[in-house]
Every structure is written in C-alpha cells, then in structure tokens.
C-alpha cells in the first residue's frame, strides 16, 4: 500500500495504490499509469537550458522528449551541460539523440532567431 501525489498535471491528485497495484484517487487514466510507473520505474522529464555560442549571454531552453529514470537525472544533466548550439534554433530541433542510451532525445523548447 502506498499513497502518492500525482505529478502528471497541476491538479495533483492524491493517489492510493494497494498491494495488488490497484490505483484509486486518480481523476484520469494517466494518474493510474503514473502511480504504477512511480512504484516500478520512476521517471521524470528534465527541463534545463544550454548555451547559444553565437549570441552574447544567451541560453536556450531544452527538454527530454521522453521521461528518463529518476536515478539518471544528474548523469543526464552532466551530459546536457556538454551541449551548445548556434542560433537560429527552433522549438523541436533535436540537439542530442538518445541521450545516454535512455531512449530520449534532447530538444529545443524556445525559438532563438
């Protein structure tokens, strides 16, 4: 038995999972998925920013396309820190494929002209 707070959306449902992995308290099906994932293989989407080399004092925001295992967060951050791009960049542009073999790409989330 475990009580969790759903992080899928700002609603923040209080989830309850019993020993047979039945989820209650979820407003939508994604809450049930989240609860199971959280108890078996917790994952998170990472959002951060990287340097834009040809613009002074400029960063551009990025995210992982798929959530990555929670215990890999700092390894992924280290890897992202190595990436830099040249403007212009566009939302959705991939700057690193399959980061650390975790089946997740790093994509740009802000347009810089």
């Amino acid at each position: 038995m475990k009580d969790l707070t759903c992080i899928v959306c700002p609603r923040g449902c209080r989830l309850h999972v019993d020993d047979d992995m039945n989820v209650t308290g979820n407003f939508c099906p994604r809450g049930a998925q989240y609860a199971i994932s959280e108890l078996t293989n917790p994952v998170r989407t990472i959002t951060t920013s990287i340097r834009v080399t040809n613009r002074p004092y400029t960063l551009v925001s990025v995210k992982t396309t798929n959530p990555i295992p929670k215990q890999k967060i700092f390894d992924v951050m280290k890897e992202i820190d190595k990436i830099a791009v040249e403007a212009p960049v566009r939302i959705g542009q991939i700057v690193k494929t399959n980061i650390l073999g975790l089946d997740s790409d790093i994509v740009i989330t802000k347009n810089i002209d």
């Binding site: 923040g12 959002t47 960063l59 802000k110 347009n111």
Partner: protein, 416 residues
C-alpha cells in the same frame, strides 16, 4: 493623437490570449504594447514543463506554450510594439507609452485590456529581520538570472516561502549544482501545488519546514547565515526554536501582487485580491477597461490565465459593439464562509453568458460543498472532496438563475 479601438497592455499569457480573442471577435483596429524585448512575458523564463494540459491537451514548457500564442498573433497579423513601456493612462482612455523606436506616443483608445501581470513581494515587504547583505533575492529574479542569463545566484541556498516559483527554483538550482538546504514556510501548509512538493522537493530530498520562518539573516557583505524559528498559530516567533543554516543565498518566494499601478492613476476600484473589481465580463468599474490574468488575481495554472483573458478579449469586442450595458442592475458577489476572495465581485443582471465564479479557500478543507446562495435561495451547489488555498476553484452558474437573485449572491464552502 491616433484613435484606436483596442489596446492590450502586456503580451504575456493573458495579453496575447486576450488580443487573439478580440481579433477573432471582429476587433481589427488593435495593438499590443509590451515593455520587454520579446512577446511572452514571464513565460519566457518558465522553462519547466506542466503548461498547456487544459489548453492544448499536452504538456509543454513555458516557452513552448507562449510560442503557440505568438504564432497565432502573427497568423492573425495582430500588431504589437516591443520595448514599449506604458507610462500613463487617463480615465478617458488616453494611453501614453514610451519606446526607443517611437519616442513618446499618445493613443486614444475606445477599449483597453490590462494584462500587466504581477510582481513579487520582496525582503522589504515582509520586513525580513537582520542584516542587509547581498545574496537575498526573489525567486522570479533568480529564475530570470539562471534561465535567461545563465547566472547561478548561489551555492548553498535556503528558500523562504513554499510558493510554486520557490519550489521550482529549489529543483532548478539543485539540477545546476547548488545545495538547497531547505524550504521554510510560515503557514502550517504549503503555498505551492502538491505536484511541485513531490517533484521539486521530495524527489531531491529537500526538507520542507512548515510553521517556520526566517527570524534573522546574518551577513557582513554576503549572506552567511539564516536562522529559522518556529511560529505559533498567530504566526509569532516562538523563542528557543532556532535552526541555523550556513548559506550564501536566501531565495524569497513569499507571494505575488497584481501589478495595477496604471489603474491606480485613474482611481479604478481595487479589490482584496489587489487587482481591479470586475464584473462577469472582466470589465473594471471603469466601462471599457478590462483586465485579466495575474494583474487581476494571481493564478496557479497558466491555462486558466489564457481562458480568463479570452473572456476579457471577447468582452472588449462586445463593448466596442455596444453590447454591454453598464447601466444594468448590478448584483454584488460576496465571499462567504471559508472563502478568501471571489471573482467577479459583481455581475450585470442580463448576462450574455453563464457566469464562472473563481475563488480560493482560506485553509485546506475536506468533504465540502460549495453553496451559491441569494438570501435563502440556493442557486447552485457543487461537491468538492478536497480544497486547498493554492488551487483556484471554479464553479458555474447558469445566467437564467440571475433572475432569481435579489441584491447579492454569497458563495460559501461548507461541510457536507
């Protein structure tokens, strides 16, 4: 002086949504004024995700969310001015803005939508006790430094206040290599959303101390130490409960206040939310001046800002077609039991649409029912299993019900 139908002040989540909706409702002579160098307002620095679940049914980061609106503004060819700071407003709706490109410009508007957002309470506002050293900074400013300018504000950090920006910054600074020692909240419950407690604090083993606040900051040039003390139920510091934290940075996430200084110039009535008093059209007490978003009341979810702003945008279009009659009977809306504020504060009797009331509860509550009453008459009730102050609540009332109302409507939250 140039005459113009509609001016939207601010191009954040509220301003762009309002302008788009006004244009879609036939307002062609309009202009957005933005003081910053790009459209989007504060969303530009909110690089975390969680935006757009209501609006777009997908999870977006702040910049991705704002880009959808920028694209729409451009597609609809809505004119906008960047680096244009509005410096004056008159009751007759003359707007003065200043920009490098245009100099000082006056515009005579028929309608105005205020979408100026909010500002952060700072060290002075909470009378932070102790030394006036460097290293004390508001959460939003730290967010801008880190996410836009790439500057770390410190290495060992204490966060005061558990508002969402503070929680988001706890995670953000941790990811970038800082040690966040704790978050301290003066109230016995968090001011932030539950999901942010989980994904920003618990995920990174950052302790959250409730009923605890900063009793002293110590530092000669740079901050050296923060002392936290427990508080009693009256929020008074309890002696001999000190906890000491050696740190170089204190981040303040202690509340946001609607930015309404332009409305103060014209004596526009302001409510307890510190935003304007409005009717169901998001129209202030000055006919033709509308407002939406965080300059009306501080929201927890940006999707609801956009929603509210669309209402203001459409209302401005109605006003310009003389379809809002400000001389109609006004019904006062009052917050009842357990409610800190309710919007709108009044409604005009013959409403074009059903009314959505928005409110916040004063404290966390379970198994409640929201009652909408006029005198003894119950106009509506909605069951709510759990309510917390950090989540805005919305309940609807059919416009037909307004005919049953005498003078005022009271919204209250009661035990089931």
């Amino acid at each position: 002086m140039r005459q113009i139908d509609l001016v939207v002040i601010g191009s954040g989540a509220a301003g762009m949504a309002a302008a788009i909706e006004a244009k879609k409702n036939g307002v062609n002579d309009l202009l957005i004024l933005e003081k910053d160098e790009k459209l989007g307002g504060i969303l530009n620095q909110c690089i975390h995700n969680g935006f757009g679940l209501t609006e777009f049914k997908e999870e977006l980061t702040g910049p991705e969310y704002l880009q959808r609106f920028v694209d729409e503004v451009k597609r609809l060819e809505i004119p906008y001015k960047l680096n244009a700071q509005v410096i004056d407003l008159t009751k007759d709706k003359v707007i003065t803005y200043s920009s490098k490109e245009d100099g000082l410009v006056k515009l005579q508007a028929k309608a105005i939508i205020m979408a100026t957002g909010c500002y952060e309470r700072n060290a002075g506002a909470i009378m932070l006790p102790g030394d006036r050293c460097s290293g004390i900074i508001t959460a939003g400013t730290a967010q801008r430094y880190l996410n836009i300018n790439g500057l770390m504000v410190g290495k060992r950090v204490v966060i005061l206040g558990s508002g969402d920006i503070g929680l988001i910054m706890a995670r953000r600074l941790t990811l970038e290599g800082a040690k966040v020692l704790c978050v301290s909240e003066i109230m016995p419950y968090s001011a932030g959303l539950n999901r942010n407690i989980q994904q920003c604090l618990i995920d990174y083993d950052i302790p959250l101390y409730l009923s605890r606040t900063v009793s002293k900051v110590i530092g000669k040039d740079r901050l050296e130490k923060v002392i936290l003390s427990a508080v009693d139920e009256n929020l008074q510091i309890i002696p001999n409960t000190e906890m000491e934290f050696e740190c170089d940075t204190l981040i303040l996430s202690v509340g946001l206040i609607p930015y309404v200084s332009l409305l103060n110039y014209i004596d526009c009535p302001i409510s307890s939310t510190k935003g304007a008093v409005v009717n169901q059209y998001m129209e202030t007490m000055i006919p033709g001046i509308f407002t939406a978003g965080n300059c009306l009341h501080v929201h927890d979810v940006v999707d609801f800002v956009s929603q509210e702003a669309r209402l203001a945008g459409r209302s401005a279009a109605l006003y310009l077609r003389n379809e809002i009659d400000n001389n109609e009977k006004k019904i006062a809306i009052k917050p009842g039991q357990n409610i800190s504020y309710v919007l709108p504060q009044f409604v005009l009797e013959n409403s074009v649409d059903d009314i959505t009331f928005k409110f916040r509860v004063r404290k966390p509550l379970k198994d409640q029912v929201v009652m909408i009453r006029s005198g003894e008459t119950v106009l509506g009730k909605v069951v709510k299993p759990a309510l917390i102050p950090s989540e805005m609540v919305m309940v609807n009332l059919s416009k037909d019900k307004l005919q049953e109302v005498k003078d005022e409507i009271v919204i209250s939250v009661e035990d089931r």
